[in-house]
């Protein structure tokens, strides 16, 4: 342990030490924290003074043993290290902080077995609730949740029939809007660049939304123009380079997210193509930096900030019993017109 020099060494400053210093009982000290109305202003002041003098800090662990809330919420994300999750984590954290909660975080690197393990770990800490990203989870996880009766919610995705309460965006709709925008600009030769859809409900929903919209318009889905690229600028760039070398190429590229779009744009530029003059590109997400690119990326904005914000507020309400209604909140998407998609 750290060897700081010791002040006036604090011999176990617990609630009874405070009580002694304030010349009241421990019960009164506890009450003055939890039900201040029940203790007289005079003693309350004495207690406050004692607390400050001794440097007392309440022990949540001891509290939570009485069925009291822990004031912690667990969040399990695929990864923290991604612009979009970082943003949603930040706003979720801020939001629950406002209700007095602290965030216990864990990541599983897109491995549902690890998600289960993380859930158990958070449950050992008796978190007051667990928020998960997305709607796809192992049966074991869902079962554990229900068996333990831990309040839970899904973040990031919206589905009208979600079993968990959810706050997020409709990815099918996102794909649809993106396709719609390109169609509106007069494009008919549209390529799709998406990550593998399996195990990624976001990607697959977006893809099916885009496809549906194109089919509805009678636009043929050329097999040669359907590409797979992971969420990596470098790899998307490489894919685009191959794709765009073909003789016959699309006039527009619809990308699974902004990272792919950005990679695709770099790829196009490195092939000597100008965006949007020679080829239009649209992304999904509106990540940080998408606005500042040169030219700015046209994209479908998923409101990460407000998803985290709303999710935090509703979840803490549910946990504290302020509002226990089951919620499924669809955060509206927005088509952000910037410089990478032009009318034909």
């Amino acid at each position: 342990m750290a060897h700081y020099m010791s002040d006036k060494v604090n011999e176990k400053v617990d609630i009874v030490a405070v009580a002694k210093a304030a010349r009241v009982s421990a019960s009164t000290v506890s009450r003055s924290f939890n039900h201040p109305g029940l203790v007289s202003p005079a003693t309350r002041k004495r207690i406050t003074r004692a607390v400050e003098k001794l440097g007392y800090i309440r022990n949540r662990a001891a509290q939570s043993m009485h069925g009291r809330r822990n004031a912690t919420i667990g969040l399990i994300v695929p990864t923290i290290d991604h612009a979009i999750f970082a943003e949603v984590i930040q706003s979720f954290s801020d939001s629950i902080d406002r209700a007095g909660f602290t965030l216990l975080i864990a990541s599983h690197s897109y491995d549902l077995d690890r998600e289960y393990a993380m859930m158990r770990k958070l449950m050992e800490h008796r978190v007051d609730g667990i928020a998960l990203v997305g709607l796809e989870h192992s049966d074991a996880s869902l079962r554990l949740l229900q068996q333990q009766g831990t309040p839970a919610m899904a973040l990031w995705n919206y589905a009208p029939d979600s079993v968990l309460p959810c706050v997020g965006a409709d990815n099918h709709e996102a794909g649809r809007i993106a396709a719609d925008h390109l169609l509106g600009l007069g494009h008919r030769d549209i390529g799709l660049v998406f990550p593998r859809p399996d195990g990624n409900d976001r990607a697959s929903a977006r893809l099916s939304g885009a496809r549906a919209r194109l089919l509805a318009e009678g636009v043929p889905l050329v097999d040669d123009w359907q590409w797979e690229a992971p969420y990596s600028i470098a790899q998307a760039k490489q894919v685009a380079q191959e794709l765009l070398q073909r003789r016959h190429r699309p006039t527009a590229l619809l990308c699974g997210n902004d990272v792919i779009a950005q990679g695709v744009i770099y790829g196009a530029q490195s092939c000597g193509l100008r965006v949007p003059e020679d080829i239009s590109v649209i992304g999904i997400g509106d990540f940080k930096g998408s606005n500042e690119m040169e030219p700015g990326l046209t994209t479908i904005r998923i409101p990460a900030r407000s998803i985290g914000e709303i999710a935090g507020a509703r979840f803490t309400d549910l946990i504290t019993g302020v509002n226990t209604e089951h919620f499924r909140i669809n955060c509206p998407l927005e088509c952000i017109l910037r410089g990478t998609a032009r009318a034909l």
Copy 2:
């Protein structure tokens, strides 16, 4: 609370329920978790079976009341929502997870008073240790740490005389290396674009490192070429646009970090300048995406991943008593040659 249908309703499955089911005492169950060597293999098996049957999950809160570790580490960052912190948080989290710890996270948006408040909050949860970003903290925070005797460490910055154990990079050195690289390429007319240095020890150390190196070489520091820009692509872009419109402009720009560098590059491009042909740019940090830009950003790499990794390992060692030596670890910087800085 959530209303899942109830299985075979678990009436308080605690350690004595397990004990009963395994026909042993609670003590034995506890021991079989914490000191498995002390209990016979046969009973251990019975206990394991009972645990699984009842779906028992240990209660860390109750454990921690016995001075036992909580298996949680608190991390306080300025913001989660920043490429560089997200990366270091991720690797720190992974690293402590390997030692069985969970991360309790809080952010203070660059407000030292809020940092103090967050520290108290984490202490209420009796975290086993607290990691802070950077070396600048309020006296109150430092005092609180020492008073409570909570193990603490600093992440991200290195200083040979740090009072807290630290794992990070030497920012002065980073500035020096960047300047050195530009000098090596033959540049003499060098502009500096940095954020406000006050309250940001990273920025000020980098700036002073760069200045020192330039002065040592006898390169004059033209006042007109010293610009302030916050860590924002958009604002850095704007600053660069003004800066580069001047008649007399530098041949190279040394930027406080990669975000600024990226903004500056966009600004230059929008002024019709080519990077690196017309102007060289160097950043500091090597954020995600810096490599994939077109052209790739020349920068001084701060090894976020290994900082988090090493910090997590050393901190958990310190907390568990495996290695209680005071540590100050300087993670080596690297000059990454890419496409935005050319020889004159």
